[in-house]
């Protein structure tokens, strides 16, 4: 019975701990153990899952000692962030704050300092939680994920990466090595907003919006929301509605009118579906307003 099996302290089953120092070594271990193995990054999701007995891996492959997964570097037109980069490192990076303020805002809102000191960006994506804060920001930034497997490396858009709660494109023998995040267009403004029950909470609803205006006309518009569907959502229909238009009160109302049809929220202990529907509109309005205000500022 569940009450006698699960808690947040004890891991009663045995597992072997591996700590490879290269990507190749990690991939070899994963190939050897297949679905018996799990990748361990910060462990802030995985250890909870293990104590709650949602997964009982026989092998843990710690990727934190693989140097290339811990790199944070500029690449053509954007950043490449290693999957094992800690959230705290992103939060403290002036480069991220300056060039990717949307990601910075999302990451800074996550958990507590203690959690951010452990948690990684890759872990947030691979856990594929519908409310994952960094995932929502990265969707609005049109990030791409970098995947390594036994047959080589590939790069795919983040939007297709999520399949549902806890489910991604990754196969058991693959590793997410990093994320490529392109800079938003010059002069764009952005906003990340998260609504929780307290300041330290998972999102009831979260939203990321990036916007660029030229002469009052929306030239670039990216919107993503979390905790309103089985996976983090990009709201493409609203993006296209607003693109090429002026952000008039009418346009805004029209956009808000499309929110309900775009999302499929559920009722859970955090909030009712009805409440989520209602505040999704509020958050969209607020995010667009803040993003607009931040438009044309510095490069970001």
């Amino acid at each position: 019975m569940e009450i006698n099996r699960v808690n947040t302290r004890i891991i009663p089953f045995r597992f072997e701990y591996h700590s490879p120092s290269s990507l190749g070594e990690a991939l070899t271990i994963l190939s050897r153990y297949g679905s018996e193995a799990r990748i361990l990054a910060g462990g802030t999701d995985l250890l909870v899952d293990m104590k709650q007995r949602l997964v009982e891996p026989r092998h843990l492959v710690d990727i934190k000692r693989i140097p290339e997964l811990r790199l944070l570097r500029e690449d053509v037109g954007g950043f490449i962030i290693g999957s094992a980069v800690k959230l705290r490192e992103l939060e403290r990076s002036e480069a991220i704050k300056g060039r990717l303020p949307l990601l910075h805002e999302a990451v800074s809102s996550m958990g507590s300092v203690q959690v951010r000191n452990m948690a990684t960006l890759g872990g947030n994506l691979c856990r594929a939680s519908p409310s994952a804060d960094a995932a929502v920001a990265l969707l609005a930034l049109e990030a791409e994920v970098l995947i390594a497997g036994p047959t080589g490396a590939k790069r795919v858009p983040l939007e297709g990466f999520f399949l549902g709660p806890r489910a991604t494109l990754l196969r058991p023998d693959e590793i997410l090595t990093g994320v490529y995040v392109p800079y938003p267009p010059e002069g764009a403004g952005s906003a990340f907003i998260k609504l929780g029950r307290t300041s330290l909470d998972l999102a009831i609803v979260n939203i990321a919006a990036a916007l660029k205006l030229r002469g009052g006309i929306v030239e670039h518009c990216r919107i993503a929301m979390g905790a309103v569907a089985p996976k983090p959502l990009r709201l493409r229909n609203i993006e296209s509605l607003l693109s090429g238009r002026e952000l008039t009160p009418e346009a805004l109302e029209e956009a808000l009118g499309m929110v309900e049809a775009s999302i499929k929220p559920i009722t859970d202990i955090r909030a009712t579906a009805e409440y989520r529907r209602e505040v999704s509109k509020v958050l969209l309005r607020d995010a667009l307003k803040t993003a607009t205000e931040r438009c044309g500022g510095r490069r970001s």
Partner: protein, 782 residues
């Protein structure tokens, strides 16, 4: 120097607490930090059903794995009450350590002990239980209806077996004056129903016990408890071990808030395992188990109040039903306290009360900081605002006109515990608080239109300091203190009183230093246990400073008398002409004759001389019963901002005033008020443990991910949180001091709720006032 004109040397000074560094550096050792050689680790098998009967239980596989296993069959079938504060005739007993008839999800059925916690967990999972699943009842009002499932057929009241009808655990009715006439005289009569929630204490430290079986058949116990002596008495009651062979150590607590007023089940379970295994056993609950172990009381009130046009209250009637979960911890005394809280806020010439405690298949309820007072105060303060509005009076003036204050009869701890209030700073608290918050400038309810609306609310309250009284009553309340003077002039202070984290013992040390005229540093709080201390009932009822400090003061007076007596011999002076002053350089007290040069001796030298002259140890042992339980008063003025689009409420500013008599530790006192407000905030807008009707389990299943409490980041900035003390002198308290721990919280939720109503022009009759409920109310208002 205090406001009341008395001047003190250490009291009221900002001093660092003795255990402060250890606590913040993680070096303090709490119950679960204790280890013994050869120790086993325990786990508990809990009922997955809210209501069931155990048909069979097979532990052979667990034993095959090498674990020590106990079930309900291994423990004396003694029905008990885990809280031993009331006298026997007021104590209802309906608990077993392990049961074959679980009444809530999480009720312990069996337990195992093994070499590691992981092994114990594996053994636990191998136990096979066959249950007969019974129909549960989760709602207290449903539970009262005839024909439904019955939780307890009989329970014990003292030693007498009583039948339980309609899941009514206990009841109390009280009336005074002619209520019908009172309502007849009223110009306005309001009647409303108010509902509160079931909250989890969220104390940092989860329940834990380490038990060592001793060669003499006794046990040594290191556990989470607010009362080491009552823990010892209960273990004696259940297992029949001679009291003198049960040694319970006093440990620091990582918070408790009432969740260890009673002996937590981990203690007798670990005792039983240790006795069976013949080895030390440690049982530390997980957070999830802890949330299945205790909860606050949910109350449903029906309140009717009448007032004249001039604002005077004429009559009151209160009907209260409380959901106590599956067992009684202290439901009966609480029924008395609720009426006490109610009638001691405002003068009611006539009043009638009925309180009923109802069993449900939920986690047992116990006291939670304020013991029903926060709920009661929220109800009263909500209606008082409405009444003031109805008669067209400023709510603050309405309160000033009706409050129970100096010279009035005080019912604090219920109808059998009456006393006269001798110190009261209510008026000054309200006047100063109003000025600091800008009460005159508060918005008119409902006049704002924008998205963000601000409101200011007032909540006023009190709590008793201890449960003392002039007569014995049905509540045990006394403390003990032992002091002895060491040869180097330091003082050992030995007490059974537990510090929940608020700094009670630190306050005692200051009281002792003040009385003896020694530097605070020389007063040493000695590690202690039940064998080396005098009885202390419990750290509860905001009695730490008042009752515990009262004992410490009296012990210090005795020691002082002896010191002066002996010094008089040595100095060839008269004892009553001698005084003691601290010498910071020597680091001890010096006894001297006023105005006579050279007639002085340090306490260390005197004590050493007493040894050489065989005069004996300078010491005292005092057992002290307070003769009353004076109220300490507080009020919160809270300004909040409501986002009418999301329903979220944010605290903007808080002004809190308190009359706690003489302030002993200003920083710690202020800290109590900050913490009290945070807990009140949780009660007002956030906390509840709803149940899943399908499984009968907590909807959050014990995970704190989904039981949110406010953090520092949810509170106003420290600069926007103003605390002030209105010092009075309580003649019955040590150096004029009263309590604080509970009044620091009691009216906070009321202030927040009233502020929300002030902002929105809508009243809420159910807690917590969640964003969902706010949006719904705004929609309905249109």
């Amino acid at each position: 120097m205090s406001m009341s004109g008395k001047s003190f040397r250490v009291l009221g000074e900002r001093t660092a607490r003795k255990d402060g560094l250890a606590r913040v550096r993680g070096l303090e050792r709490y119950a679960s930090d204790y280890y013994l050689r050869n120790m086993l680790h325990a786990r508990v098998l809990k009922s997955p059903y809210p209501h069931a009967r155990v048909r069979s239980i097979d532990v052979s596989e667990a034993e095959g794995l090498g674990a020590t296993v106990i079930t309900f069959r291994d423990i004396p079938r003694v029905r008990f009450c885990p809280r031993l504060v009331s006298t026997p005739e007021a104590t209802y007993k309906d608990w077993l350590v392990l049961t074959d008839r679980p009444l809530y999800v999480g009720e312990p059925i069996a337990a195992v002990a093994a070499e590691s916690e992981e092994e114990a967990q594996r053994a636990l999972e191998s136990i096979r239980v066959e249950y007969e699943v019974l129909e549960p009842i989760l709602d207290p009002l449903d539970s009262m209806r005839p024909g439904g499932p019955q939780l307890h057929e009989t329970i014990l009241l003292g030693d007498e077996e009583v039948r339980v009808e309609g899941n009514l655990a206990c009841r109390l009715e009280v009336a005074e004056g002619d209520v019908e006439k009172g309502f007849g005289e009223a110009d306005v009569v309001l009647e409303r129903e108010y509902r509160t929630s079931r909250r989890y204490h969220s104390q940092l430290e989860v329940k834990s016990a380490l038990v060592n079986p001793e060669p003499d058949g006794g046990v040594s116990i290191w556990c989470t408890t607010q009362t080491i002596h009552n823990t010892r008495l209960l273990i004696h009651e259940i297992f029949g071990i001679p009291t003198s062979r049960i040694r319970v150590y006093r440990l620091p607590l990582g918070g408790s808030f009432g969740s260890s007023i009673h002996t937590n089940l981990v203690v007798p379970i670990a005792v039983a395992l240790a006795l069976k295994a013949g080895r030390p056993v440690k049982l530390a609950y997980t957070r999830e188990e802890d949330m299945h172990d205790h909860s606050s009381y949910q109350m449903i009130f029906r309140l009717k109040l009448g007032a004249k046009r001039d604002g005077r209250l004429t009559a009151g009637e209160l009907d209260m039903v409380m959901d106590i979960g599956a067992h009684q911890v202290q439901a009966y005394p609480l029924l008395g306290c609720v009426v006490g809280w109610w009638v001691s806020l405002y003068k009611l010439p006539s009043k009638r009360y009925r309180g009923r405690a109802i069993y449900t298949n939920k986690v047992p309820s116990c006291a939670m900081r304020g013991y029903g007072n926060p709920q009661t105060t929220w109800m009263v303060e909500s209606m008082v605002d409405e009444l003031a509005e109805a008669v067209g009076m400023d709510p603050l003036e309405f309160r000033l006109k009706n409050y129970v204050g100096k010279g009035d009869i005080f019912w604090g701890q219920g109808p059998t515990v009456k006393s006269v209030i001798e110190s009261c700073g209510v008026e000054e608290i309200l006047r100063r608080g109003a000025e600091l918050i800008g009460w005159d400038k508060r918005p008119k309810p409902g006049e704002q239109r924008g998205r963000y609306r601000r409101g200011i609310g007032l909540g006023r309250g009190f709590h008793t300091s201890s449960a003392g009284a002039a007569v014995p009553g049905t509540v045990v309340d006394y403390s003990g203190a032992i002091l002895k003077v060491n040869e180097d002039g330091t003082i050992d202070y030995i007490t059974a009183m537990v510090d929940q984290g608020g700094g009670s013992l630190e306050a005692h040390a200051k009281i002792i230093a003040e009385e003896l005229g020694v530097p605070l540093e020389v007063v040493n709080i000695v590690a202690a246990d039940t064998q080396t201390t005098l009885y202390d009932v419990c750290t509860h009822a905001s009695r730490g400073v008042y009752a515990g400090g009262g004992a410490a003061l009296r012990a210090a007076r005795e020691v002082k008398g002896k010191l002066l007596e002996l010094a008089a011999r040595v100095l060839d002076a008269y004892p009553h002409a001698l005084e003691i002053r601290p010498d910071e350089e020597l680091g001890q007290g010096i006894i001297y004759a006023r105005g006579v040069e050279g007639k002085e001796i340090t306490i260390g030298d005197l004590t050493t001389m007493a040894r050489h002259k065989n005069w004996g140890t300078i010491a005292s042992a005092v057992s002290f019963r307070p003769g009353s339980c004076p109220p300490h008063f507080t009020a919160f003025f809270a300004e909040v901002e409501v986002d009418t689009s999301t329903g979220r409420v944010r605290p903007v500013r808080v002004v809190a005033g308190a009359d706690i008599g003489t302030v002993i530790n200003p920083d710690l006192a202020e800290g109590q008020i900050h913490g009290g407000f945070a807990m009140g905030w949780g009660l007002a807008v956030l906390e509840d443990t709803p149940y899943d009707p399908e499984t009968g389990d907590l909807l959050c299943r014990g995970y704190i991910t989904d039981y949110k409490v406010p953090t520092a980041a949810d509170m106003p900035d420290v600069e926007d949180f103003k605390v002030f003390f209105v010092e009075t002198h309580e003649p019955t308290g040590p150096f004029g001091a009263k309590g604080l721990g509970e009044a620091a919280k009691n009216p906070a939720a009321a202030a927040v709720a009233n502020a929300i109503s002030n902002a929105l022009g809508v009243r809420f009759y159910e807690l917590p006032i969640t964003p969902d409920r706010i949006l719904k109310a705004l929609r309905e208002k249109g």
